[in-house]
Amino acid sequence: MSFWTDPINFVNHWLMLTLTGWGLSGFFASIIANLLGILLLITAAMVLDIMLVWVERKVVARFQGRLGPNRVGPYGLFQPFPDIIKLIIKEDITPEGADKVVFNIAPILSLASVIFLWAVVPLASTIYGVDLNVALLYLVAAGALGTLSIIMAGWSSNNKYALLGAFRQVAAMISFEIPMIVALLIPTVLAGSLSLKVITDFQSGGKWFFLLSPLGAVLFLISAIAELGRSPFDLNEGESEIVSGYHIEYTGMKFGLFYAGELLHAFTFGGFLAVLFFGGWHGPWASTHPFLGAFYFVAKAMFGYWLIMWVKYTVPRIRIDHMLAFNWKFLTPVAFALLIVTVVVHSLLKGLGFLPYALGLFLSNVLLGWITLEILRATTRKQRLALKSPEPVAQH
């Protein structure tokens, strides 16, 4: 066991030896080692979060044909630090009539619900928090806490715009949870486990689930964007109706926590997309060199994050009734159909070797996607014809 092949266990082993050498009992030594591990993981996630502010601002600028931050440091790399200093020194205002305790817990819970997710993410073969056998359900449970934080923020602000924004956002999050859970079931069926470690190990040697179920990956991406409340599903923000939604009354760093939570959440969903459909940390020489695996994981997660940003800054916003219709009449039925097709094809072709199995799954996905598009085309055509073309006014 050396540092380069198994860094976490190496450091853990060394730490335990040192601490017990100082006269601590093994029990307390393991508590201290685990606490340090948790602290390290959270710190890494938060430092990454600081840099995500720069990534987000730079990418949106490029999508809009601007340069983005370019004054502080090389390529504006140090831009997040003035941003953070500004947030910290802003006046902290608690609105009159606000429920102070709930008002202050909400932003913390919002960021915590995202950080909880990092407990189960396998960064590399030996670098992960816990290998939970219900990790995918844990993802949904952490999302539930995020939903709770939004309704707490909306209610405790004592502001009707905040409350309306929270209602909208929570309604959207609860309804998009259904296609998301069904999309999560597809890697579960393929790997036969809810554990992210097993799902990652199943995709070794380039057998990415994206190749087996491209439609599943697309469904997961769409429902993840809706769960994030990002454009085109950003119901909580509307300058002309509810201003900026549930966090309208938050100032300074409390708003900063919501903002940091949103950015980290987007990146984390990019990471889950990588783990579930793009092979996680797998790549050339990654199984023997964990740091390389962690690099591949972050690169893949960045790609997922970039996809989410790409959609956010190029697709126009959807109205709330269209959004709910999109979920209940399109996304949910397609997700269930895909689940049934995947289960049937998986159990029929499982014993035939990898190539026919992968080809069967891929073609069934393509076929289902094509049928869906044809049905959509036919229904929209019917709707257009039903509306008829309006008669010119000048003839009357």
Binding site: V102, N133, V140, A141, G143, L145, I151, W155
Partner: protein, 170 residues
């Protein structure tokens, strides 16, 4: 005293304290939030019993769905979120007696049970084994597939019923 006992005592204290707050606070939203804290404590107990699946489902279903629905219902149906009426009615001594008797009965039953001093792992196996046993039990025809499906149909009927009630009839 080992770590799991410390965690048990802390979470049991959390459950009891926040359950008391649910019934004593006059602010309905606070009551719902305290209820969430109670349910979270129960999830911790499940996790201590090696039932990770139940712990996570407890959070998903009770906090993510039912508690959020409570909050929605309270906010949408009440004009005032503060309860001003009396907090106990005339039947409280009978209810208290019933509560004490139930607690005493449970105490007597559990003191006779031989599983009290054993660890969950040696009674039901590891968390993985328990999870697959649960999955097989819920889907195998000679175990619980029928009650499971009947429960799903009941929920579906409730769903259709609520849509019908809420539908805007023209």
């Amino acid at each position: 005293m080992d770590a799991s006992q410390v965690i048990f005592i802390l979470s049991a204290a959390l459950i009891v304290a926040s359950a008391l707050m649910v019934v004593t606070t006059r602010n309905l939203i606070h009551a719902a939030l305290w209820l969430i804290s109670t349910l979270f404590g129960v999830a911790v107990l499940y996790a201590l019993l090696e039932a990770g699946f139940l712990a996570v489902v407890q959070v998903v279903v009770y906090i993510g769905a039912i508690a959020i629905m409570f909050i929605f219902a309270v906010m949408l149906t009440r004009k005032e979120l503060r309860d001003r009426g009396a907090q106990v009615n005339a039947a409280w001594p009978a209810a208290a007696l019933l509560g004490v008797l139930t607690f005493g009965g449970l105490l007597v039953i559990f003191s006779k049970w031989d599983g009290l001093g054993r660890l969950p792992a040696e009674m039901a196996g590891t968390s993985d084994a328990m999870l697959s046993q649960l999955g097989i039990a819920l889907t195998s025809p000679d175990l619980f597939v029928l009650p499971f499906e009947v429960a799903s149909i009941l929920l579906l009927a409730a769903l259709i019923g609520s849509v019908y009630v809420a539908m805007n009839k023209k």
